[in-house]
Symmetry: C2
Subunit: 135 residues, 2 copies
Amino acid sequence: MNNRFPVSLHILTLLDDAKGEVVSSDYLAGSININPVLVRKEIANLRKYGFVDSKEGKGGGSFLAKNATEINLGEVYKAVKSDYILGQNKNEPNPKCPIGRQINEHLLGLYTDAENALIDNLSKQTLADFALKFK
Amino acid sequence: MNNRFPVSLHILTLLDDAKGEVVSSDYLAGSININPVLVRKEIANLRKYGFVDSKEGKGGGSFLAKNATEINLGEVYKAVKSDYILGQNKNEPNPKCPIGRQINEHLLGLYTDAENALIDNLSKQTLADFALKFK
DNA sequence: TTGTCTGTAATAAAAATAATTACAGAATGA
DNA sequence: TCATTCTGTAATTATTTTTATTACAGACAA
């Protein structure tokens, strides 16, 4: 399991906290305690999804590109998701086995369904709701 | 992401298909296309949770220890789960940062909630339901 | 009592993840 | 203009996680 979801959410929470002020990747990396390059990569992804925007050059950094009430955590999850969450789906079962031959399609159905339930749950909360928990 | 959930479900499906007949770890490994030692490790875990039982020695192997209608997929998930599914929760954010200092507790709440939604969804289906999809 | 299984530990290999290094280019402002 | 401080990104290395392999003791059936 990689750490992309919590890292992205941490970034977004910090940007929300900055209230529109530009925040450098070094500052973000310092709070999260990871490498700044990884932060910039994650920001590149968040930017791709329209959650944040960045300013290059001296005094540059990132900031929220939409209101925190318009970013829900299900969308954030979808932005960082790669594999299916319940299995890597890179298994190659034996095609000669009647079960092995069919299992991938049935796993796929299961994964999709379960993951939708997860996303629905996350979608109930916006970044604003999440940020509100911090005192 | 590891493959424990699909491997366990694959094992259980094969055992269900065997209708009480004992199945060797070599046969299971052949269908899943992984190493037999890994299968035996996974079976040791499934046994710990009372889903299967095994017979040692010549002609030995594993079999379901309860009816497939009494094994739901949420329980299977819980049996193989280790980390939280949305993050490894091994991050050590900066305690000097007001956000970093508090984020782990808030992530934990989020994870627990979202994971419960996932488990609830999986629990709607038993092993028998799942096995029925195979023709 | 031999052959075929499981159980399990120890090690090695492979794959995934994260950190680091390096550097081009943008923007600021002295 | 030019030094400085940022971002963006590629390439490499290090670390961690996952899987495979090897090895062998013990169970049990024939």
